[in-house]
Symmetry: D2
Subunit: 287 residues, 4 copies
Amino acid sequence: MCRFTLYLGPDIRLASLLLEPDHSLIRQSTHSREREEPLNGDGFGVGWYARGLAPEPAVFRSITPAWNNRNLHNLARVVASDCILAHVRAATQSSGVNEPNCHPFRYQRYLFMHNGDVGNFRQVRRRMLESVCDEAFANVYGSTDSEHFFALCIDELLGQPLERPPLERLAHALKAALARVVRLVAAHGDDEPSYMNCALADGDHAVVSRYTNATTDSPESLYYFHGALYPAIADATRQAGHASHARHPVIVSSERLTADPDWQPIPPNYMVLVSRGHAPELRALEF
Amino acid sequence: MCRFTLYLGPDIRLASLLLEPDHSLIRQSTHSREREEPLNGDGFGVGWYARGLAPEPAVFRSITPAWNNRNLHNLARVVASDCILAHVRAATQSSGVNEPNCHPFRYQRYLFMHNGDVGNFRQVRRRMLESVCDEAFANVYGSTDSEHFFALCIDELLGQPLERPPLERLAHALKAALARVVRLVAAHGDDEPSYMNCALADGDHAVVSRYTNATTDSPESLYYFHGALYPAIADATRQAGHASHARHPVIVSSERLTADPDWQPIPPNYMVLVSRGHAPELRALEF
Amino acid sequence: MCRFTLYLGPDIRLASLLLEPDHSLIRQSTHSREREEPLNGDGFGVGWYARGLAPEPAVFRSITPAWNNRNLHNLARVVASDCILAHVRAATQSSGVNEPNCHPFRYQRYLFMHNGDVGNFRQVRRRMLESVCDEAFANVYGSTDSEHFFALCIDELLGQPLERPPLERLAHALKAALARVVRLVAAHGDDEPSYMNCALADGDHAVVSRYTNATTDSPESLYYFHGALYPAIADATRQAGHASHARHPVIVSSERLTADPDWQPIPPNYMVLVSRGHAPELRALEF
Amino acid sequence: MCRFTLYLGPDIRLASLLLEPDHSLIRQSTHSREREEPLNGDGFGVGWYARGLAPEPAVFRSITPAWNNRNLHNLARVVASDCILAHVRAATQSSGVNEPNCHPFRYQRYLFMHNGDVGNFRQVRRRMLESVCDEAFANVYGSTDSEHFFALCIDELLGQPLERPPLERLAHALKAALARVVRLVAAHGDDEPSYMNCALADGDHAVVSRYTNATTDSPESLYYFHGALYPAIADATRQAGHASHARHPVIVSSERLTADPDWQPIPPNYMVLVSRGHAPELRALEF
C-alpha cells in the first residue's frame, strides 16, 4: 500500500504540492492517517510535464525515503509544472525496493501510479503478461503488480479508437484494464480481492480510480479538491507569477493535504475524470 | 535520536540478533516503542569483528532503511560474529543522510555508535574539533554530532596510560569524553542538554552509557541482557555449531529485544561495562 | 559486456580474490584489457557460500561501481568462503542499472552470472519467458537478458533426472539452456549472434561456458587457473588458518588475475567443469 | 581529478549542454581525453539557477556515475536554465564517494566546483578550517579538499566590501582564496603542489581559474567558448523558444565539448571572468 497525489492546473512549484501543505505527501510518507500502518518509506517518485521543453514527462524516482532525499527537496523548490504525479511507496513483501519498482511509471506521454495491490499477484503475474501486446510487454522492467497492471492499461490505450477524445481514452482504458485484472484474478488467483486506486494521466487529462472488489472491506482512501486554491498553493502560485492563470486546479490525493473544506471523498468504486480547465466528473466503475 | 544494539558473546549470526527476535532492531526501525516517534529510517549500519580474519572490524552502512535493504538481510543470514554493533538512524534536521553520517563509526579496532544528540551542536561543533589531537581530527569525515563526539573519545583513548587494562581504557575514555562535551556545551552552547547513549567497543570489551544532563527529562531508554540465552539466539548459536561456548553473552539495546525477564534497565546516568566471559558491571557517571 | 571471476577451493577472504591480485576484478572494473571498452562500472555483485551457516548462498549487489564501494572493500576484508562468484557489469543500453539487474543471480542454492548478451533480446525476451515453467518464471525480477537466460537454466535444472550427479546436472542444464536460447534467437531474433560466457554453481560444483554463435567473431575472453596457489591467495589462505586444506583451488575468470603461467584459456565454444577437489575438465559445446 | 562544465547564457535545456554535444560532460565521464586516466565515475552533480522560482540555485548530486543515472537523463531533458554548473568526479583515494563530497557545492546563491587537488590536504585540512569564519566553517559537511577550499572562498566572499560589483567580488574572493591555500600548503603541507581549476558563480556572473603552483607541470586543461552558438545548443535553444535571446552564451569546460573552432584554451595561471551579456575577460593569477 502507498500514498499518492495528482495535480492538474496552472503551474505550481512541486514544493507547494509535495512539501508545504500541512498534510503533504512528504508528511504522509511518515505519518499517513488513513492506513493501518503510517509509514511509506520504500522509495518514492515524482513525474511531471514540462510544457514546451519535451513531449514526454520527466520522472524522478529513488529508493531512499522521500522525507530525507535532498535531491527531491532541491528539485521541488525550483521545478514548476502544470501536471504532477507523486507517489510514496510502502512495498509489499514480494517485490523489492529498486528504481524500476518505484512509481510513477511512464509510457510515451502517459504516467501511471497505483496504491493497493492486485489479488494473488504471484499467481496472476504470468497471465497478465501473456494477455498484453508486445508493445505493452516491452514496457515492463520490474516486478511490481502495479507496473504489470500498467501494461494492461497500455494495452487498452493502444486498442482505443483514434477518434475517441483523450479523456475518454484514458477513462475507457483504465476501466477496461480494471475489468481485465478482476477477471484474471477470478480465473487464476483464487479470486483474492484487489485494491486498485490508480492514476493515469497524459498531461492535460487524468483519471483516478478508487476501487476494490473486496466484499467486506472498503477501497483505500481517496479525495479530490477543486475550487479556490488553498492558501499554500495559492501563495506559491502567486510567487511563481502565475496567479492570473490560477483557475480550476484539481488535486486528487490518497489523503487530504489540508483542512480546507473543499476536499471531497471519491465514492467507493468510482473514478474521477479530470480535464484541464473543467470541473472534475465522477463516474461509477461497474463491470 | 536512534536505536542501537550491541552484542558480546559466542559467535551468532547477525540475523539472530538483528532480524529474528520479536522486537529486533529491524522491528525497531519502523516500530520503536520507547521514543515519541517510532521511525528510525534514515540509514543504518552494522559493525562486527571477524576473529582470525582481520584485526579491524568490518562496517556495513547504508543510506536506505534497514527494513528493506536486501544486502543487509543477505549478510545477516550468513555472517556470524562474537562482537556486533548495529544501529538504525533517525537523523536530526541538521545533518544529512549519507554513509559518512551512518553509525557505527570506526577508528582502528574501535567501533562507536550513539543514540541522542549533543546540545546545541551547531555552536559547539567547532570547539569540539579544536579540542582534539590531529589523529582524532583526521578521523572525522561527516557532519554528525555523533562522529564529532567519537573524535573526543579517540582523543581520550590515545591519551590513556598504556598499562591500563582494555576495559578500563574504554570506560575512562568514554567518561572523560562525556565530561568534556558537557563542559563544551556549557561554555559555548548555552548549556542546552545533551542526550548521550553511547557504545564504545574493541571486540572483547565494551562500555555503553545511558546519560543526559537534562534536568527535567530522562535519558533515552537502554537495557542490558545477561543470563541464559533466549531461545532465538540459543537456537541460532546451536545451529552455528558453537553451543558449547555459549556462556555469558551480553546484549545492550535501546529497547528490549524479547519478553525475556532477564532484561534489565540501565539506571539513568550510569554506564555498563562489558567484558568477554564476565558479568556486566554498572558504574555511575558522575563528573 | 562485463567481467567475472569464479572461485572454488579452500576458504579464502574475498579480498584475496577480488582486490589483491595485480589484475583483480576490481582492477578490471576500470581497466579490463580484453574488451574494446575497459570500463565495467554499472554496478557489481558478489555471491558466496557460507558453509555451516546457511544452505543458500549470500549475495551482495550494488548499483555503484565496485572500485569505490566501501561496503564491498569492508566485506572483502573479513568474509572468507570456499566458493565465490563475483561480477562487474557494463550495462547494455536496453537495461537499466538497478539491483535486480546486477549479477550474480540466485535461485535456491544456485548462483549464476553472465558476460555477453543474448542476440536481439528485445525480440526474444517474451519467447524466453513463455518457454519456462512457473517456478523459473517467478524467479525473474528485472529486465536483463542474463536473468532471463538464468530462467532457462532453472527450467533445465528442474527437469534433470534426480539420480544425475550434481556436476552433470549443472553441465546438462547449462548446455541445454544454451541450445534453447540459440534456437529461440534463430526463430524470433533474426539469428543475431549471442555471446554467452556463463557461470552456474551450487557451492561444490560449477560449470562455466565460453560460447558464441557469431560466425566472424570469437567468444569473450575466459581463462581458468588450477595448480599451486599463486602467492597472494596462498598468503591469504595461510593467514586464514586454512593452509592445510589448500589443495586444488580452481579460478575461472574473464581475464587472468595474475601473470602466473598456470592460467589457461578456455577454448572457444567449450565449457569448463569444476568440482571440489578434482581437476577441471574441458568439454566441447556442440548442439 | 575531475571534469566540469559551466554555462552562462540564454536558457538551454541541461541535455543540450551535458548530453548532446559530441564530447559532452557525460562523454567525458567515461572518455575524457586530457587526463591520464579517462574515467570520472565517482559520482556527479549539476547545479542550476531557476530564475523566478527560487533565489538559491538547485543542486542535484548522486554517488552513481553520470553516464548511467536515469534521473539525470530525465531531468536534463526537461530542465532549462540560464546558468548551469556540472561536474563529474574522479575521487582521490583519501575521500569517499558520498553526496556531501559531490560537486557543485552551494552556499546561499553561490555555487562552486573544483577539478584538481589541494597539495597535501590531509596535513593542511585542519589549518584551512581554522582559518575561516564561523559561517564558512558551518558550511562544511564532507571531507573533500574542494569543499574545504570553498570554505575559504566563502570566507573571502563575506569579507568583500559591499560596494564592490558582483563579478569583482567573485574574482577577488577566488584569487584571495587561492593565495591563502598556497600559503597554507607552503607553511603546513611541505609545499606540495596544488591543482586548482575552480568555478565560482552567482547566477549572473562566474569566475573560473586554471591554476597550479607545480613548477614542472601544467594546470589541468580548461577551455572557454564564446561566439555563435554551436549547432546542438542553438537547436535546443530554438526548440525551447528562447532563440531571440540567444546572445553571448559562454561555456567554460575542462575539455572542448565540440570541434567548433571558437573554443579557446585558458592560459596557465589565468582566470576567466564571465558576466551575463558581456564578452569573457582573461585575468592573470599572480600573487
